[in-house]
Protein backbone atom coordinates (compact mmCIF):
# COMPACT_ATOMS: atom_id res chain seq x y z
CA UNK A 1 0.00 0.00 0.00
CA UNK A 2 1.45 3.34 -1.01
CA UNK A 3 2.05 5.89 1.71
CA UNK A 4 0.78 9.38 1.04
CA UNK A 5 2.46 12.63 1.77
CA UNK A 6 0.21 13.64 4.62
CA UNK A 7 0.05 12.00 8.00
CA UNK A 8 -3.75 11.62 7.99
CA UNK A 9 -3.90 9.57 4.80
CA UNK A 10 -3.11 6.23 6.41
CA UNK A 11 -5.96 6.71 8.87
CA UNK A 12 -8.42 7.52 6.09
CA UNK A 13 -7.45 4.38 4.18
CA UNK A 14 -7.86 2.26 7.32
CA UNK A 15 -11.22 3.87 8.16
CA UNK A 16 -12.41 2.92 4.70
CA UNK A 17 -10.99 -0.62 4.75
CA UNK A 18 -11.76 -1.51 8.38
CA UNK A 19 -14.63 0.73 9.56
CA UNK A 20 -15.75 -1.68 12.28
CA UNK A 21 -12.30 -2.53 13.60
CA UNK A 22 -11.34 -1.04 16.95
CA UNK A 23 -9.14 2.01 16.44
CA UNK A 24 -8.46 3.25 19.96
CA UNK A 25 -9.05 2.22 23.56
CA UNK A 26 -8.98 4.97 26.18
CA UNK A 27 -10.88 5.74 29.40
CA UNK A 28 -12.17 2.16 29.39
CA UNK A 29 -13.99 2.43 26.07
CA UNK A 30 -13.22 1.67 22.46
CA UNK A 31 -13.85 3.76 19.37
CA UNK A 32 -14.09 1.95 16.05
CA UNK A 33 -12.47 3.41 12.97
CA UNK A 34 -15.92 4.51 11.85
CA UNK A 35 -16.61 6.31 15.15
CA UNK A 36 -13.14 7.87 15.28
CA UNK A 37 -13.49 9.00 11.66
CA UNK A 38 -16.89 10.54 12.41
CA UNK A 39 -15.70 12.42 15.49
CA UNK A 40 -12.42 13.62 14.01
CA UNK A 41 -13.94 14.78 10.72
CA UNK A 42 -16.60 16.72 12.64
CA UNK A 43 -13.85 18.43 14.65
CA UNK A 44 -11.92 19.07 11.43
CA UNK A 45 -14.98 20.47 9.65
CA UNK A 46 -15.59 22.84 12.57
CA UNK A 47 -12.04 24.15 12.35
CA UNK A 48 -12.32 24.46 8.57
CA UNK A 49 -15.56 26.41 8.93
CA UNK A 50 -13.65 29.11 10.81
CA UNK A 51 -10.50 29.70 8.75
CA UNK A 52 -9.75 32.94 10.60
CA UNK A 53 -8.52 30.77 13.50
CA UNK A 54 -6.01 28.89 11.32
CA UNK A 55 -3.86 31.75 10.07
CA UNK A 56 -1.19 30.03 12.12
CA UNK A 57 -1.89 26.46 10.93
CA UNK A 58 -1.80 24.84 14.34
CA UNK A 59 -4.44 23.47 16.70
CA UNK A 60 -3.69 22.69 20.34
CA UNK A 61 -4.90 19.37 21.79
CA UNK A 62 -5.43 19.70 25.52
CA UNK A 63 -6.22 16.09 26.35
CA UNK A 64 -4.83 13.33 28.48
CA UNK A 65 -5.34 9.63 27.80
CA UNK A 66 -8.84 10.21 26.47
CA UNK A 67 -10.74 9.42 23.28
CA UNK A 68 -11.23 13.18 22.83
CA UNK A 69 -7.44 13.59 22.82
CA UNK A 70 -7.02 11.04 20.02
CA UNK A 71 -9.90 12.37 17.95
CA UNK A 72 -8.46 15.83 18.62
CA UNK A 73 -5.09 14.86 17.15
CA UNK A 74 -6.79 13.49 14.04
CA UNK A 75 -9.25 16.39 13.91
CA UNK A 76 -6.41 18.90 13.92
CA UNK A 77 -4.57 17.03 11.15
CA UNK A 78 -7.69 16.47 9.06
CA UNK A 79 -8.44 20.18 9.20
CA UNK A 80 -5.09 20.79 7.55
CA UNK A 81 -3.43 22.07 10.73
CA UNK A 82 -0.60 20.58 12.75
CA UNK A 83 -1.32 19.57 16.34
CA UNK A 84 0.26 20.97 19.48
CA UNK A 85 -0.17 18.58 22.43
CA UNK A 86 -0.72 20.09 25.87
CA UNK A 87 -0.70 18.11 29.10
CA UNK A 88 -2.78 18.79 32.19
CA UNK A 89 -0.30 16.93 34.39
CA UNK A 90 2.24 19.66 33.64
CA UNK A 91 2.17 22.84 35.73
CA UNK A 92 -0.38 25.17 34.23
CA UNK A 93 2.27 27.89 33.91
CA UNK A 94 4.22 25.66 31.55
CA UNK A 95 1.12 24.84 29.56
CA UNK A 96 0.33 28.55 29.28
CA UNK A 97 3.79 29.25 27.88
CA UNK A 98 3.55 26.38 25.41
CA UNK A 99 0.12 27.43 24.18
CA UNK A 100 1.04 31.08 23.93
CA UNK A 101 4.31 30.36 22.13
CA UNK A 102 2.58 28.10 19.62
CA UNK A 103 0.29 31.00 18.60
CA UNK A 104 -2.43 28.43 17.95
CA UNK A 105 -5.90 29.98 18.06
CA UNK A 106 -7.90 26.79 18.05
CA UNK A 107 -7.89 24.25 20.85
CA UNK A 108 -9.55 20.88 21.47
CA UNK A 109 -10.15 20.15 25.15
CA UNK A 110 -11.19 16.95 26.92
CA UNK A 111 -13.27 16.85 30.10
CA UNK A 112 -10.34 16.26 32.44
CA UNK A 113 -8.51 19.31 31.13
CA UNK A 114 -11.49 21.69 31.38
CA UNK A 115 -10.59 22.90 34.92
CA UNK A 116 -7.35 24.32 33.52
CA UNK A 117 -8.92 25.83 30.41
CA UNK A 118 -9.91 29.07 32.13
CA UNK A 119 -6.25 29.94 32.66
CA UNK A 120 -5.61 29.74 28.94
CA UNK A 121 -8.75 31.70 28.12
CA UNK A 122 -7.92 34.44 30.64
CA UNK A 123 -4.42 34.84 29.29
CA UNK A 124 -5.27 34.84 25.60
CA UNK A 125 -5.22 38.25 23.98
CA UNK A 126 -6.99 36.92 20.92
CA UNK A 127 -10.29 35.21 20.29
CA UNK A 128 -9.99 31.43 20.46
CA UNK A 129 -11.92 28.61 18.83
CA UNK A 130 -12.55 26.05 21.58
CA UNK A 131 -13.83 22.55 20.75
CA UNK A 132 -15.02 20.31 23.57
CA UNK A 133 -16.04 16.93 22.14
CA UNK A 134 -16.81 15.46 25.57
CA UNK A 135 -19.61 17.87 26.44
CA UNK A 136 -22.93 18.06 24.62
CA UNK A 137 -23.33 21.79 24.42
CA UNK A 138 -21.01 24.65 25.30
CA UNK A 139 -23.65 27.28 26.07
CA UNK A 140 -22.38 27.84 29.63
CA UNK A 141 -18.91 28.56 28.33
CA UNK A 142 -20.30 31.01 25.79
CA UNK A 143 -22.08 32.84 28.61
CA UNK A 144 -19.00 32.97 30.81
CA UNK A 145 -16.46 33.73 28.08
CA UNK A 146 -18.18 35.81 25.41
CA UNK A 147 -14.85 36.77 23.84
CA UNK A 148 -14.26 33.22 22.60
CA UNK A 149 -16.05 30.79 20.31
CA UNK A 150 -17.11 27.43 21.82
CA UNK A 151 -18.41 24.19 20.38
CA UNK A 152 -19.71 21.15 22.25
CA UNK A 153 -20.35 17.81 20.57
CA UNK A 154 -23.85 18.70 19.33
CA UNK A 155 -22.62 21.99 17.92
CA UNK A 156 -19.83 20.60 15.77
CA UNK A 157 -20.13 20.83 11.99
CA UNK A 158 -21.42 17.65 10.31
CA UNK A 159 -18.92 15.13 9.07
CA UNK A 160 -20.20 15.66 5.53
CA UNK A 161 -19.02 19.26 5.61
CA UNK A 162 -15.42 18.14 6.00
CA UNK A 163 -13.15 18.47 2.99
CA UNK A 164 -9.86 16.64 2.79
CA UNK A 165 -7.15 19.31 2.86
CA UNK A 166 -4.45 19.56 0.25
CA UNK A 167 -1.39 17.72 1.49
CA UNK A 168 1.59 19.96 2.18
CA UNK A 169 4.46 17.54 2.83
CA UNK A 170 6.65 20.26 4.32
CA UNK A 171 3.84 21.57 6.52
CA UNK A 172 4.00 21.01 10.27
CA UNK A 173 2.39 17.76 11.38
CA UNK A 174 3.04 18.43 15.04
CA UNK A 175 4.76 21.03 17.16
CA UNK A 176 6.15 19.53 20.29
CA UNK A 177 7.71 21.49 23.12
CA UNK A 178 10.80 20.11 24.82
CA UNK A 179 12.91 21.36 27.69
CA UNK A 180 14.88 24.51 26.72
CA UNK A 181 18.13 25.75 28.25
CA UNK A 182 16.94 29.34 28.76
CA UNK A 183 13.95 28.31 30.81
CA UNK A 184 11.58 28.57 27.86
CA UNK A 185 10.44 25.32 26.21
CA UNK A 186 11.61 24.85 22.61
CA UNK A 187 9.03 24.05 19.94
CA UNK A 188 10.21 21.25 17.66
CA UNK A 189 8.49 21.46 14.25
CA UNK A 190 8.08 18.05 12.67
CA UNK A 191 6.72 17.95 9.13
CA UNK A 192 4.34 15.51 7.45
CA UNK A 193 7.21 14.40 5.24
CA UNK A 194 9.36 13.68 8.30
CA UNK A 195 6.75 11.41 9.85
CA UNK A 196 5.39 9.70 6.74
CA UNK A 197 8.86 8.62 5.60
CA UNK A 198 9.41 7.19 9.07
CA UNK A 199 6.05 5.41 9.28
CA UNK A 200 6.48 4.06 5.75
CA UNK A 201 9.67 2.30 6.79
CA UNK A 202 8.54 1.13 10.22
CA UNK A 203 5.12 -0.36 9.34
CA UNK A 204 6.82 -2.52 6.74
CA UNK A 205 9.72 -3.45 8.96
CA UNK A 206 7.40 -4.58 11.73
CA UNK A 207 4.71 -5.88 9.40
CA UNK A 208 1.94 -4.15 11.36
CA UNK A 209 -1.48 -5.53 10.39
CA UNK A 210 -5.11 -4.90 11.28
CA UNK A 211 -4.81 -7.71 13.82
CA UNK A 212 -2.19 -5.90 15.92
CA UNK A 213 -2.84 -4.28 19.25
CA UNK A 214 -0.30 -1.63 20.17
CA UNK A 215 0.38 -0.18 23.61
CA UNK A 216 0.08 3.59 24.03
CA UNK A 217 2.21 4.22 27.10
CA UNK A 218 3.35 7.73 26.20
CA UNK A 219 1.57 11.01 26.85
CA UNK A 220 0.89 12.98 23.68
CA UNK A 221 3.51 15.51 24.79
CA UNK A 222 6.16 12.78 24.39
CA UNK A 223 6.86 12.35 20.66
CA UNK A 224 7.06 8.56 20.95
CA UNK A 225 3.25 8.66 21.23
CA UNK A 226 3.19 9.48 17.50
CA UNK A 227 4.70 6.07 16.78
CA UNK A 228 1.84 4.19 18.42
CA UNK A 229 -0.92 6.26 16.88
CA UNK A 230 0.25 6.48 13.31
CA UNK A 231 1.75 2.99 13.06
CA UNK A 232 -1.59 1.56 14.20
CA UNK A 233 -3.83 3.80 12.13
CA UNK A 234 -1.71 3.25 9.03
CA UNK A 235 -2.70 -0.42 8.97
CA UNK A 236 -6.06 -0.63 10.72
CA UNK A 237 -4.57 -1.79 14.02
CA UNK A 238 -5.79 -0.98 17.54
CA UNK A 239 -4.00 1.30 20.00
CA UNK A 240 -4.63 0.69 23.66
CA UNK A 241 -4.06 3.58 26.04
CA UNK A 242 -3.92 2.73 29.75
CA UNK A 243 -5.42 5.13 32.24
CA UNK A 244 -3.17 6.94 34.69
CA UNK A 245 -4.03 4.22 37.22
CA UNK A 246 -3.43 1.33 34.87
CA UNK A 247 0.07 2.69 34.28
CA UNK A 248 0.90 1.47 37.78
CA UNK A 249 0.39 -2.13 36.68
CA UNK A 250 1.36 -2.25 33.01
CA UNK A 251 1.64 -6.03 33.07
CA UNK A 252 -2.03 -6.49 33.79
CA UNK A 253 -2.82 -4.09 30.97
CA UNK A 254 -0.74 -6.15 28.51
CA UNK A 255 -2.68 -9.28 29.46
CA UNK A 256 -6.12 -7.68 29.68
CA UNK A 257 -5.76 -6.06 26.26
CA UNK A 258 -3.90 -9.01 24.74
CA UNK A 259 -1.32 -6.63 23.29
CA UNK A 260 0.91 -7.73 20.42
CA UNK A 261 3.23 -4.72 20.25
CA UNK A 262 4.82 -3.09 23.25
CA UNK A 263 6.62 0.27 23.19
CA UNK A 264 7.92 2.06 26.28
CA UNK A 265 10.90 3.70 27.87
CA UNK A 266 13.32 1.25 29.50
CA UNK A 267 12.49 2.72 32.93
CA UNK A 268 9.17 0.93 32.71
CA UNK A 269 11.01 -2.38 32.61
CA UNK A 270 12.90 -1.49 35.78
CA UNK A 271 9.61 -0.41 37.37
CA UNK A 272 7.87 -3.66 36.46
CA UNK A 273 10.84 -5.73 37.55
CA UNK A 274 10.87 -3.96 40.88
CA UNK A 275 7.19 -4.75 41.45
CA UNK A 276 7.46 -8.42 40.54
CA UNK A 277 5.72 -8.00 37.18
CA UNK A 278 8.34 -9.67 35.01
CA UNK A 279 7.87 -13.35 35.62
CA UNK A 280 8.78 -15.91 32.95
CA UNK A 281 6.31 -16.20 30.06
CA UNK A 282 3.84 -13.68 31.46
CA UNK A 283 3.40 -11.75 28.25
CA UNK A 284 3.21 -14.39 25.57
CA UNK A 285 0.87 -12.32 23.39
CA UNK A 286 3.64 -9.85 22.57
CA UNK A 287 5.32 -10.41 19.23
CA UNK A 288 7.27 -7.18 19.26
CA UNK A 289 8.89 -5.27 22.14
CA UNK A 290 10.35 -1.86 21.44
CA UNK A 291 12.20 0.50 23.75
CA UNK A 292 13.27 4.08 23.21
CA UNK A 293 13.87 7.33 25.05
CA UNK A 294 16.85 6.43 27.21
CA UNK A 295 19.64 3.84 27.36
CA UNK A 296 18.41 0.25 27.59
CA UNK A 297 20.43 -1.79 30.08
CA UNK A 298 21.30 -5.32 28.96
CA UNK A 299 19.85 -6.69 32.20
CA UNK A 300 16.49 -5.05 31.46
CA UNK A 301 16.38 -6.55 27.99
CA UNK A 302 17.12 -10.03 29.34
CA UNK A 303 14.44 -9.76 32.05
CA UNK A 304 11.90 -8.47 29.56
CA UNK A 305 12.51 -11.28 27.09
CA UNK A 306 12.04 -13.89 29.81
CA UNK A 307 8.60 -12.43 30.42
CA UNK A 308 7.82 -11.87 26.73
CA UNK A 309 9.60 -14.83 25.09
CA UNK A 310 7.67 -14.68 21.82
CA UNK A 311 8.70 -11.16 21.04
CA UNK A 312 11.45 -9.69 18.96
CA UNK A 313 13.13 -6.92 20.96
CA UNK A 314 14.51 -3.79 19.37
CA UNK A 315 16.21 -0.81 20.95
CA UNK A 316 15.36 2.46 19.22
CA UNK A 317 17.17 5.75 19.51
CA UNK A 318 16.16 9.21 18.42
CA UNK A 319 15.75 12.78 19.64
CA UNK A 320 12.45 14.53 18.92
CA UNK A 321 14.29 16.60 16.32
CA UNK A 322 14.93 13.47 14.24
CA UNK A 323 11.30 12.27 14.37
CA UNK A 324 10.58 9.55 16.91
CA UNK A 325 13.56 7.26 16.23
CA UNK A 326 16.37 7.32 13.72
CA UNK A 327 18.48 4.27 14.58
CA UNK A 328 17.59 0.81 15.82
CA UNK A 329 19.19 -2.35 17.04
CA UNK A 330 17.71 -5.83 17.12
CA UNK A 331 18.55 -7.83 20.23
CA UNK A 332 20.45 -11.04 19.66
CA UNK A 333 21.07 -13.26 22.70
CA UNK A 334 24.64 -14.02 21.69
CA UNK A 335 25.83 -11.12 19.58
CA UNK A 336 24.44 -8.31 21.73
CA UNK A 337 26.52 -9.27 24.76
CA UNK A 338 29.64 -8.76 22.67
CA UNK A 339 28.43 -5.51 21.15
CA UNK A 340 27.03 -3.80 24.25
CA UNK A 341 29.10 -1.12 25.92
CA UNK A 342 28.81 -0.18 29.60
CA UNK A 343 26.11 -2.87 29.76
CA UNK A 344 23.87 -0.76 27.57
CA UNK A 345 22.26 -2.24 24.47
CA UNK A 346 23.67 -0.59 21.30
CA UNK A 347 21.56 1.92 19.41
CA UNK A 348 22.42 0.13 16.20
CA UNK A 349 22.10 1.36 12.68
CA UNK A 350 20.43 4.37 11.03
CA UNK A 351 17.04 4.02 9.39
CA UNK A 352 17.04 4.14 5.58
CA UNK A 353 17.34 7.74 4.43
CA UNK A 354 19.22 8.78 7.55
CA UNK A 355 22.96 9.47 7.62
CA UNK A 356 25.37 9.30 10.53
CA UNK A 357 28.50 11.28 11.25
CA UNK A 358 30.53 10.98 14.46
CA UNK A 359 32.64 14.06 15.05
CA UNK A 360 35.03 15.75 17.44
CA UNK A 361 34.29 19.18 18.88
CA UNK A 362 35.45 20.82 15.63
CA UNK A 363 32.93 18.72 13.72
CA UNK A 364 35.64 16.67 12.00
CA UNK A 365 34.81 13.00 11.69
CA UNK A 366 36.62 10.87 14.28
CA UNK A 367 38.38 7.64 13.42
CA UNK A 368 36.46 4.34 13.60
CA UNK A 369 36.40 3.09 17.17
CA UNK A 370 36.74 6.60 18.65
CA UNK A 371 34.14 8.50 20.66
CA UNK A 372 32.47 11.64 19.39
CA UNK A 373 29.24 13.54 19.03
CA UNK A 374 26.54 11.98 16.89
CA UNK A 375 25.43 14.14 13.98
CA UNK A 376 22.66 13.01 11.68
CA UNK A 377 20.69 14.21 8.69
CA UNK A 378 18.18 12.79 6.27
CA UNK A 379 14.48 12.53 5.62
CA UNK A 380 13.52 12.62 9.29
CA UNK A 381 15.48 15.74 10.23
CA UNK A 382 13.10 18.32 11.67
CA UNK A 383 12.33 21.68 10.10
CA UNK A 384 13.65 23.80 12.96
CA UNK A 385 12.61 25.28 16.29
CA UNK A 386 9.38 27.21 16.13
CA UNK A 387 10.08 30.95 15.84
CA UNK A 388 13.59 30.52 17.16
CA UNK A 389 16.20 31.07 14.50
CA UNK A 390 19.10 31.26 16.95
CA UNK A 391 18.41 27.88 18.51
CA UNK A 392 17.82 26.34 15.09
CA UNK A 393 21.10 27.73 13.77
CA UNK A 394 22.90 26.38 16.83
CA UNK A 395 21.94 22.77 16.11
CA UNK A 396 22.10 22.75 12.31
CA UNK A 397 25.75 22.63 11.21
CA UNK A 398 27.74 22.03 8.05
CA UNK A 399 30.78 19.97 9.04
CA UNK A 400 34.10 20.88 7.34
CA UNK A 401 34.37 19.43 3.85
CA UNK A 402 30.69 18.43 3.76
CA UNK A 403 28.10 19.92 1.45
CA UNK A 404 25.04 19.21 3.61
CA UNK A 405 23.53 20.27 6.88
CA UNK A 406 23.55 17.92 9.89
CA UNK A 407 21.68 18.03 13.18
CA UNK A 408 23.84 17.94 16.31
CA UNK A 409 22.27 15.46 18.70
CA UNK A 410 24.46 16.31 21.68
CA UNK A 411 24.82 12.56 22.24
CA UNK A 412 28.17 10.87 22.70
CA UNK A 413 28.60 7.69 20.69
CA UNK A 414 31.39 5.43 19.46
CA UNK A 415 32.00 5.46 15.73
CA UNK A 416 31.58 1.84 14.70
CA UNK A 417 34.41 -0.23 13.30
CA UNK A 418 33.30 -2.11 10.21
CA UNK A 419 29.72 -3.28 10.48
CA UNK A 420 29.44 -3.00 14.23
CA UNK A 421 26.50 -1.03 15.67
CA UNK A 422 26.58 2.47 17.11
CA UNK A 423 26.85 2.50 20.88
CA UNK A 424 25.50 5.33 23.02
CA UNK A 425 27.85 6.64 25.71
CA UNK A 426 25.89 9.52 27.26
CA UNK A 427 25.08 13.19 26.76
CA UNK A 428 27.64 15.74 25.64
CA UNK A 429 25.85 18.76 27.00
CA UNK A 430 23.83 19.04 30.13
CA UNK A 431 20.68 17.44 28.91
CA UNK A 432 20.08 14.43 31.04
CA UNK A 433 17.43 11.79 31.42
CA UNK A 434 15.50 11.81 34.67
CA UNK A 435 13.40 8.67 34.90
CA UNK A 436 13.06 8.63 31.14
CA UNK A 437 12.26 12.31 30.67
CA UNK A 438 14.68 14.51 28.81
CA UNK A 439 15.65 17.33 31.13
CA UNK A 440 17.75 20.35 30.32
CA UNK A 441 19.50 21.18 33.57
CA UNK A 442 19.78 24.76 32.35
CA UNK A 443 16.01 25.08 32.40
CA UNK A 444 15.86 24.16 36.06
CA UNK A 445 18.73 26.51 36.82
CA UNK A 446 16.99 29.31 34.97
CA UNK A 447 13.84 28.86 37.04
CA UNK A 448 15.78 28.77 40.34
CA UNK A 449 17.74 31.83 39.32
CA UNK A 450 14.54 33.64 38.46
CA UNK A 451 12.90 32.79 41.78
CA UNK A 452 15.87 33.38 44.08
CA UNK A 453 17.49 36.24 42.22
CA UNK A 454 20.81 34.47 42.75
CA UNK A 455 23.20 33.89 39.84
CA UNK A 456 25.19 30.90 41.08
CA UNK A 457 22.79 28.01 40.51
CA UNK A 458 23.84 24.56 39.33
CA UNK A 459 21.48 21.63 38.90
CA UNK A 460 22.78 18.10 38.79
CA UNK A 461 21.14 14.76 38.28
CA UNK A 462 21.25 12.72 41.50
CA UNK A 463 21.36 9.87 42.35
CA UNK A 464 22.98 8.77 39.11
CA UNK A 465 21.65 5.64 37.43
CA UNK A 466 22.70 3.68 34.35
CA UNK A 467 20.07 5.53 32.34
CA UNK A 468 20.57 9.06 33.71
CA UNK A 469 19.42 10.07 37.16
CA UNK A 470 16.58 9.43 39.55
CA UNK A 471 16.16 13.06 40.50
CA UNK A 472 17.58 16.57 40.60
CA UNK A 473 19.55 18.38 43.29
CA UNK A 474 20.47 22.04 43.11
CA UNK A 475 23.53 23.88 44.39
CA UNK A 476 23.05 27.55 45.13
CA UNK A 477 25.72 30.12 45.76
CA UNK A 478 24.14 32.26 48.46
CA UNK A 479 21.50 31.88 51.10
CA UNK A 480 17.94 30.69 50.67
CA UNK A 481 16.05 30.60 53.94
CA UNK A 482 12.92 28.69 53.00
CA UNK A 483 13.70 25.65 50.89
CA UNK A 484 10.11 24.43 51.01
CA UNK A 485 8.79 27.69 49.65
CA UNK A 486 11.39 27.62 46.90
CA UNK A 487 10.40 24.09 45.98
CA UNK A 488 6.76 25.08 45.84
CA UNK A 489 7.56 27.99 43.56
CA UNK A 490 9.54 25.68 41.27
CA UNK A 491 6.73 23.13 41.32
CA UNK A 492 4.44 25.78 39.87
CA UNK A 493 6.78 26.23 36.92
CA UNK A 494 8.17 22.80 36.13
CA UNK A 495 6.92 19.21 35.86
CA UNK A 496 7.36 17.10 38.98
CA UNK A 497 10.30 15.14 37.58
CA UNK A 498 12.22 18.42 37.21
CA UNK A 499 11.54 19.65 40.74
CA UNK A 500 14.74 19.40 42.85
CA UNK A 501 14.68 17.03 45.77
CA UNK A 502 17.24 19.01 47.77
CA UNK A 503 19.01 22.37 47.75
CA UNK A 504 22.57 22.89 48.91
CA UNK A 505 23.47 26.47 49.69
CA UNK A 506 27.00 27.71 50.28
CA UNK A 507 28.89 30.95 50.12
CA UNK A 508 30.97 29.71 47.23
CA UNK A 509 30.34 26.84 44.88
CA UNK A 510 33.24 24.70 43.62
CA UNK A 511 34.93 26.05 40.49
CA UNK A 512 37.45 24.58 38.10
CA UNK A 513 40.74 26.03 36.87
CA UNK A 514 38.90 28.12 34.31
CA UNK A 515 36.84 29.59 37.10
CA UNK A 516 33.75 27.84 35.78
CA UNK A 517 31.37 26.12 38.12
CA UNK A 518 32.61 22.58 38.59
CA UNK A 519 29.65 20.23 38.24
CA UNK A 520 31.82 17.20 38.65
CA UNK A 521 33.05 18.43 42.01
CA UNK A 522 29.47 18.99 43.12
CA UNK A 523 28.52 15.45 42.19
CA UNK A 524 31.55 14.25 44.16
CA UNK A 525 30.25 16.17 47.16
CA UNK A 526 26.98 14.29 46.86
CA UNK A 527 28.85 10.99 46.53
CA UNK A 528 30.62 11.75 49.79
CA UNK A 529 27.34 12.62 51.45
CA UNK A 530 28.29 16.32 51.44
Amino acid sequence: MAIGKALWEGFLRSAESFPDHPAVFAEGCTLSYRALHMQSTRIAATIQAHPEFSKVPLTAVFGYRSTAAFSGVLGALLSGNGYVPLNRTFPIERTEVMFERSEARSIIVDTGSLPQLSRLLERSKQELLVIMPDITTAHKFRENWPAHLFFGLEELSPSGAWKEPIAVPDGTAYLLFTSGSTGVPKGVMVSHKNVTSYIDYMVNRYNITDQDRLSQMFDLTFDLSAFDMFMAWERGAYICCPSQKALINPGKFVRDMNLTVWFSVPSTVAFMKRLGMLKPRQYESLRLSLFCGEPLPVSSAISWLEAAPNSVLENLYGPTELTISCTLYRWDPVQTLGEAEQDIVPIGYPHPGMNVLVTDQNLNEVEPGEEGELLMNGSQMFVGYWKDRDKTDAVFVIPPGRPDVFYRTGDRVRRPIGNRPLTHLGRIDFQIKVLGHRVELGEIEAVVRRITGLDGVIAVGWPITSSGANGIEVFIEGDVEHHDALREAIRAALPEYMVPKRFHCSKRLPRNVNNKFDRKAMVELLERGL
Binding site: Q244, K245, R274, L275, G276, Q282, L435, A485, E488, E496
Partner: protein
Protein backbone atom coordinates in the same frame (compact mmCIF):
# COMPACT_ATOMS: atom_id res chain seq x y z
CA UNK B 1 7.47 -13.11 64.27
CA UNK B 2 4.07 -11.76 65.26
CA UNK B 3 1.40 -11.41 62.63
CA UNK B 4 1.28 -8.14 60.68
CA UNK B 5 -2.20 -6.65 60.53
CA UNK B 6 -3.62 -4.25 57.95
CA UNK B 7 -3.82 -1.68 60.76
CA UNK B 8 -0.08 -2.03 61.35
CA UNK B 9 0.55 -1.39 57.67
CA UNK B 10 -1.83 1.54 57.66
CA UNK B 11 -0.08 3.12 60.63
CA UNK B 12 3.26 2.71 58.87
CA UNK B 13 1.82 4.07 55.63
CA UNK B 14 0.43 7.13 57.40
CA UNK B 15 3.82 7.87 58.97
CA UNK B 16 5.55 7.36 55.65
CA UNK B 17 3.22 9.58 53.64
CA UNK B 18 3.19 12.25 56.34
CA UNK B 19 6.97 12.31 56.41
CA UNK B 20 7.18 12.47 52.62
CA UNK B 21 4.71 15.31 52.38
CA UNK B 22 6.55 17.26 55.07
CA UNK B 23 9.95 16.75 53.44
CA UNK B 24 8.49 17.90 50.13
CA UNK B 25 7.19 21.00 51.88
CA UNK B 26 3.58 20.02 51.25
CA UNK B 27 0.57 20.05 53.50
CA UNK B 28 0.64 16.99 55.71
CA UNK B 29 -2.23 14.69 56.71
CA UNK B 30 -3.37 13.38 60.09
CA UNK B 31 -5.03 10.24 58.84
CA UNK B 32 -5.21 8.20 55.68
CA UNK B 33 -8.78 6.95 55.20
CA UNK B 34 -9.14 3.45 53.82
CA UNK B 35 -10.70 4.72 50.62
CA UNK B 36 -7.99 7.29 50.01
CA UNK B 37 -6.36 6.86 46.60
CA UNK B 38 -2.72 7.83 47.05
CA UNK B 39 -2.26 8.40 43.33
CA UNK B 40 -5.37 10.40 42.52
CA UNK B 41 -5.01 12.47 45.69
CA UNK B 42 -1.54 13.46 44.50
CA UNK B 43 0.17 12.07 47.61
CA UNK B 44 2.37 9.86 45.47
CA UNK B 45 3.02 9.69 41.75
CA UNK B 46 4.20 6.64 39.84
CA UNK B 47 7.79 7.58 40.68
CA UNK B 48 7.01 8.04 44.36
CA UNK B 49 5.12 4.77 44.33
CA UNK B 50 8.38 2.89 43.81
CA UNK B 51 9.87 4.58 46.87
CA UNK B 52 6.76 3.65 48.80
CA UNK B 53 7.07 0.02 47.71
CA UNK B 54 10.67 -0.05 48.89
CA UNK B 55 9.58 1.32 52.27
CA UNK B 56 6.75 -1.21 52.56
CA UNK B 57 9.15 -4.04 51.76
CA UNK B 58 11.48 -2.87 54.50
CA UNK B 59 8.54 -2.73 56.87
CA UNK B 60 7.29 -6.18 55.86
CA UNK B 61 10.84 -7.52 55.84
CA UNK B 62 10.27 -9.28 52.52
CA UNK B 63 9.86 -8.58 48.84
CA UNK B 64 6.29 -7.83 47.92
CA UNK B 65 4.91 -9.20 44.68
CA UNK B 66 2.43 -6.66 43.36
CA UNK B 67 1.70 -8.55 40.20
CA UNK B 68 -1.55 -10.00 41.51
CA UNK B 69 -2.94 -6.76 42.91
CA UNK B 70 -5.42 -5.03 40.63
CA UNK B 71 -4.14 -1.61 39.53
CA UNK B 72 -7.49 -0.16 40.54
CA UNK B 73 -6.69 -1.16 44.12
CA UNK B 74 -2.95 -0.80 44.20
CA UNK B 75 -2.94 2.79 45.32
CA UNK B 76 -6.01 2.71 47.59
CA UNK B 77 -5.06 2.63 51.25
CA UNK B 78 -7.42 -0.13 52.45
CA UNK B 79 -6.75 -2.79 49.79
CA UNK B 80 -3.05 -1.91 49.70
CA UNK B 81 -2.68 -2.39 53.47
CA UNK B 82 -4.59 -5.69 53.41
CA UNK B 83 -2.47 -6.93 50.53
CA UNK B 84 0.84 -5.95 52.13
CA UNK B 85 -0.22 -7.52 55.44
CA UNK B 86 -1.13 -10.75 53.65
CA UNK B 87 2.19 -10.76 51.83
CA UNK B 88 4.08 -10.04 55.02
CA UNK B 89 2.36 -13.04 56.63
CA UNK B 90 3.15 -15.19 53.59
CA UNK B 91 -0.50 -15.59 52.70
CA UNK B 92 -0.70 -14.08 49.23
Amino acid sequence: MSKVTPNDVQAFLTDYVTGKLRSDGRVSVEQLPEDCDLLLSGMVDSIGFLDLVAALETFADREIDFEMLDPEEMTIVGPLCKFVAAQANGMS
